[in-house]
């Protein structure tokens, strides 16, 4: 397969970037998108050029590191997959593929296709946890009966890998799907209820502080999320937030 890649190149956070064109040949349909970029980089290195910098780690869709806007969609044209799971068979011979970093004020570009997503870490640190005694007196979680529906919903929310596709897809660069998944996974469980009020208030405050946009319910985040995190989580977070605010 012969392709034309238009890739965002940016030297560092302070310089201006631009799309640069790279022709690539010999791409196999069974290659993953990142493997295709590996081939491109090998060629660039052999020619003495600087390789394209992009984020990756596990390459099996669970770490949330790979974060590319491919032909106008986060993680590309396939659904429920991350960039590393996107196969080149999704493209046709002769295609032009535009590859950009995830764009948001809260996700500044570090270099080329790598963005700083530590804003998500700070949101998580603001309340995305439960305080458990780990000094040896920890109570086994299974001793507390949990409704099956709630347990499933909580698990579904917890599958969010924090890749940032929701922010990238949203026309407002809103982080509400991510934040709501992290709020929901605890709000649905008895262990998470104890700190629920502070959690939602603090996490939403941090989300706003990071400069993410407001949700306008377009639903783009849910469609583009590689883990299928539901918009219901945003409704739940809104409920939790209103209730917490009224409490005080």
């Amino acid at each position: 397969m012969k392709l034309t890649l238009k890739i965002w190149r940016q030297k560092n956070a302070t310089t201006k970037g631009e799309l640069k064109t790279y022709p690539i040949d010999g791409v196999e349909g069974d290659m993953s998108f990142l493997e295709m970029l590996d081939v491109l980089n090998e060629g660039l290195i052999n020619k003495g050029e600087e390789p394209v910098v992009f984020d990756h780690d596990c390459r099996e869709g669970i770490c949330g590191s790979c974060s590319l806007q491919i032909n106008g969609e986060p993680h590309g044209p396939d659904r429920l997959v991350t960039t590393c799971q996107l196969h080149m068979r999704m493209f046709n011979d002769g295609d032009t593929i535009v590859i950009e970093p995830f764009r948001a004020k809260a996700f500044p570009v570090i270099k080329d296709l790598v963005v700083d997503r530590t804003a998500f870490d700070r949101i998580q640190q603001a309340g995305g946890y439960i305080s458990v005694n780990t000094s040896g007196n920890t109570i086994d979680a299974n001793t507390i009966p949990i409704n099956k529906h709630d347990a499933d919903e909580s698990f579904n929310a917890a599958t969010c890998i924090g890749c940032g596709a929701c922010v990238a897809a949203c026309k407002n660069a809103s982080a509400m799907l991510f934040t709501s998944a992290k709020v929901s996974q605890f709000a649905l469980l008895p262990q998470g209820r104890i700190e629920a009020t502070e959690r939602v208030l603090n996490m939403v405050a941090q989300m706003d502080k990071e400069g993410f946009g407001n949700c306008t319910n377009t639903g783009a985040c849910e469609i583009e999320c590689p883990k299928g995190i539901s918009l219901e989580n945003i409704a739940r977070m809104n409920r939790e937030y209103l209730s917490a605010s009224l409490k005080g």
């Binding site: 897809a169 026309k171 993410f212 949700c215 306008t216 319910n217 377009t218 409704a235 809104n238 409920r239």
Partner: protein, 218 residues
């Protein structure tokens, strides 16, 4: 007072003001449809609305506030949202994951706002002048002829119909979205969403029907 400044509070404020306007729209439609069914009823209801102290001096200012608040909050949200992505994508395929209507509420909203300007010019300002500046004597039969007269013009009738189509698009996303913003999610959500979509089509189509009926039955 985090609730007054947070993104979720702004969403809820937008939703509540929108729901208030949706409720008002249903009331407005109920009165207007009587102009097609029975002009006398239209005259009598219009006279009541135009002279009832509660309606004129409490509900009307509240309505004005609701419209202005919804408009200003819409602009504030748009500016904040644009600031959240200062460098645009070279390639952004929003149509792959969301509807045009949901992404362009500011456009449909701006058209509806422009229509409100025309609507005020046509009905509200003349009414205020008639009642409070010229101090004309009470005439409970004047409303229907005035309404019919306004729809003589095909241009005005066309503009009204166009505005109602944009209102339909605005309601199509906005009405159901307001419940999501307020955290509504239960076993009735699907039925409620169905109702909001029905309302979004029925009410603007009803207004278009009234405008065309009055235009073609001069």
């Amino acid at each position: 007072m985090a609730i007054l400044s947070s993104s979720i509070a702004r969403k809820v404020a937008m939703a509540l003001s929108g729901l208030f306007l949706v409720f008002f729209l249903a009331q407005h439609f109920t009165i207007n449809i009587t102009s097609v069914i029975d002009p006398d009823t239209f005259n009598s209801w219009s006279h009541f609305m135009g002279h009832n102290i509660l309606v004129q001096f409490i509900l009307q200012p509240v309505l004005m506030f609701g419209v202005v608040f919804h408009f200003i909050m819409g602009i504030v949200l748009e500016i904040k949202n644009n600031n959240a992505r200062q460098i645009s994508y070279k390639s952004f395929k929003g149509n792959k994951n969301s509807t045009w209507v949901s992404r362009n509420m500011i456009i449909s909203g701006a058209v509806v706002l422009a229509f409100l300007g025309l609507h005020f010019y046509d009905f509200w300002f003349p009414e205020i002048i008639h009642k409070y500046i010229e101090n004309n004597p009470l005439d409970p039969t004047r409303y229907y002829p005035e309404l019919v007269h306004k729809f003589e013009s095909p241009v005005r009738t066309g503009l009204y119909c166009l505005a109602f189509v944009l209102l339909m698009l605005h309601l199509w996303h906005g009405f159901s979205s307001s419940f999501q913003s307020m955290g509504w999610n239960n076993k009735y959500s699907k039925a409620l969403k169905g109702f909001t979509k029905f309302y979004a089509i029925f009410i603007p189509l009803g207004f278009i029907f009234i405008a065309l009926y009055l235009h073609f039955n001069q």
